[in-house]
Structure formats: structure tokens, C-alpha cells
């Protein structure tokens, strides 16, 4: 993604910091608002260069809409996976078949890759072990048959990516590019 102008970066940083202030103070008192605005201005002036690269482009309505839609989608995936791991923990036979699989992502930006890695780790049953370029190495508590019986490396990557990274990617690709 191309570098945004300084003004765009500054305004974006200010907006994010001010929203953060509103959430953390949880108050609409005018004194709080003014203090928050002043502090957000100072911090944005000092840090806008390291805070963001794309600036206001991050607040494109389509991106924001996908980001909001991603929250319930992710929570649902997380709850289902939590129940799955709970079943494996409680089952007397302990049905686990762990392994480290390899996935390939279609995301380009570093922020997108970070979010994908974090989403995978937060979903129980999968932990991102390392990221090297486009390759994700993921510890999986139950490697399914179609991944295990893959004939070669590319089929393995294809099957594993389909199961782990694809569901998140369709959202994250719009949000982060």
C-alpha cells in the first residue's frame, strides 16, 4: 500500500486516539472531551508517522463495514472452536492428532498478516507457530484426513489453507488489503 500524506496520517491517528479516549473514559462530560481532544492532538502530532502508513484510507466505509461484520463472525468461529477443544479435553479417550501444518496466505500487508496470525491463534485448536513470507506454520490439535493424506506438498498447503486461513481471509483482505 502506498504511503499516505502527513495530513491524512495525522487526522487518522487523531480520530483513532480520540475514539480510544471516549471508550476508556466512557463519559461524554465536556471537560473529559476537551482534555481528550487536546491529549489526542499532542500524541497524534508526535506519533502519526509511526502509527500508520495508509492514513485515512483505513477509514474507507467498505473497510469499516467489513471490520464491524468481522467481529460477530470471528466471535462465532471462536465459540465453535472453543466447544470443539472442550470436547477433546473432556473426552475420556483424549481424541487429539496434533501436527504442524503449512498454509499460504493471499494477504499482502503486514498488518493483515498480523491480524490473520492473531485470529488463528485466538481460535482454539490452532496456534500460529511462525510466519515466513507468505507461509504460515500452524500447530493444529486435530489434523483432518484430507490434509494428512495429501499426495504432495502443494495439495497439503491447499487443503490446510482452505480449512484454516480462507474463512478469515475473505474479510481481512478487504479490511487490510
Amino acid at each position: 500500500m502506498e504511503e499516505a500524506s502527513r495530513a491524512s496520517k495525522f487526522v487518522y491517528t487523531f480520530i483513532v486516539l480520540f475514539i480510544l479516549w471516549l471508550v476508556v473514559t466512557a463519559s461524554l462530560d465536556s471537560q473529559e472531551l476537551i482534555t481528550g481532544a487536546v491529549i489526542a492532538l499532542i500524541v497524534a502530532a508526535l506519533t502519526h508517522d509511526v502509527f500508520t502508513r495508509a492514513g485515512l484510507a483505513n477509514l474507507h466505509p467498505k473497510r469499516v463495514a467489513y471490520a464491524i461484520a468481522y467481529i460477530p463472525y470471528f466471535l462465532w468461529a471462536m465459540i465453535m472452536a472453543n466447544l470443539d477443544v472442550a470436547y477433546r479435553v473432556l473426552h475420556p479417550a483424549r481424541p487429539i492428532r496434533p501436527g504442524i501444518v503449512k498454509c499460504r496466505t493471499v494477504l499482502n500487508s503486514d498488518t493483515g498478516k498480523l491480524s490473520l496470525a492473531n485470529s488463528i491463534t485466538l481460535t482454539p485448536g490452532t496456534i500460529t507457530l511462525d510466519v515466513d513470507g507468505d507461509n504460515y506454520f500452524i500447530h493444529w490439535i486435530w489434523v483432518p484426513d484430507e490434509v494428512l493424506n495429501a499426495k504432495d506438498d502443494s495439495e497439503h498447503v491447499e487443503k490446510a489453507s482452505e480449512a484454516i486461513t480462507r474463512p478469515f481471509e475473505k474479510y481481512l483482505r478487504v479490511i487490510f488489503g
Binding site: I100, P124, I127
Partner: protein, 135 residues
């Protein structure tokens, strides 16, 4: 108002139950990687349930609405930071050389590291021979 308090209490109970499951998983799982799978997960449904549950319960008990806003913010920060520590721990465990459980079925990361080391070694050899020629 009291229905909210009950919902909050149920959420806290669910969260506690998932904390219990993670603790149980720590005992039952065979190696460090699978233990990470269960233990780091307590932060997701366990903490999320307890934290958000407290926020909803406080509203039901008539405290200020700031409670729910702030507890959700705390939960959000937890979700943003928790996976990074989990990732650092499991990567450190692997780099330290802790073996996978004998029942593990596949280790693509090990293969990847081996092929990378091999490529580097081959490169090192060629540079060594070229040095030898120059001498």
C-alpha cells in the same frame, strides 16, 4: 433490570467453566504444544465471558453504563495482546528444541527449517570453495 444481572451471572459462570476446562487441559494434554492449545484459550471464552459478564451484571445492578463500555474495551485489549504472547511462547518452545509428542502426525515447520538450513549450508560451501580458489 434484573434480567441483565442474571445474564451477567450466567456469562461469568460460563467463563469460569472454560477456565476450569483450560486447567483440566493443562493436566491432560501430553506435550507443551497441546497444553498451549488449551491453556491460552482460557483467555478467549473464559476471560471474555467473565469480563463482559461483569459489565452486564453491573448494568443490571444499577451501576453507571460506563461499566459495560469499559469492560468491553478491556476484553478488546485482551484479545489484541493475548495471541502475541501465545505465539512468542510456542515459537520459543520450538526453537528451544522441545520435541513434539510422539503421536504428532506432521511437522512441516521442521521440514521447512531443515530445507532452509540445507540451502544456507550449500551457499556456505560454495563461498568457501571460492575463497579456497582465491587463496
Amino acid at each position: 433490570m434484573n434480567a441483565l444481572a442474571i445474564i451477567g451471572e450466567v456469562l461469568v459462570f460460563i467463563g469460569t467453566f472454560f477456565y476450569f476446562l483450560s486447567a483440566l487441559g493443562l493436566i491432560r494434554m501430553p506435550d507443551v504444544y497441546n497444553r498451549m492449545q488449551t491453556s491460552t484459550k482460557s483467555a478467549t471464552l473464559g476471560s471474555l465471558g467473565v469480563i463482559v459478564g461483569v459489565g452486564i451484571w453491573a448494568i443490571g445492578k444499577g451501576y453507571s453504563p460506563a461499566w459495560i463500555v469499559q469492560t468491553v474495551a478491556v476484553a478488546g485489549f485482551l484479545l489484541l495482546t493475548n495471541p502475541i504472547s501465545a505465539h512468542a511462547l510456542i515459537r520459543a518452545a520450538y526453537k528451544r528444541g522441545i520435541p513434539l509428542w510422539h503421536g504428532s502426525v506432521v511437522d512441516k515447520y521442521g521440514e521447512h527449517l531443515a530445507s532452509k538450513a540445507q540451502a544456507e549450508e550449500a551457499e556456505g560451501e560454495t563461498s568457501e570453495t571460492s575463497e579456497g580458489v582465491s587463496e
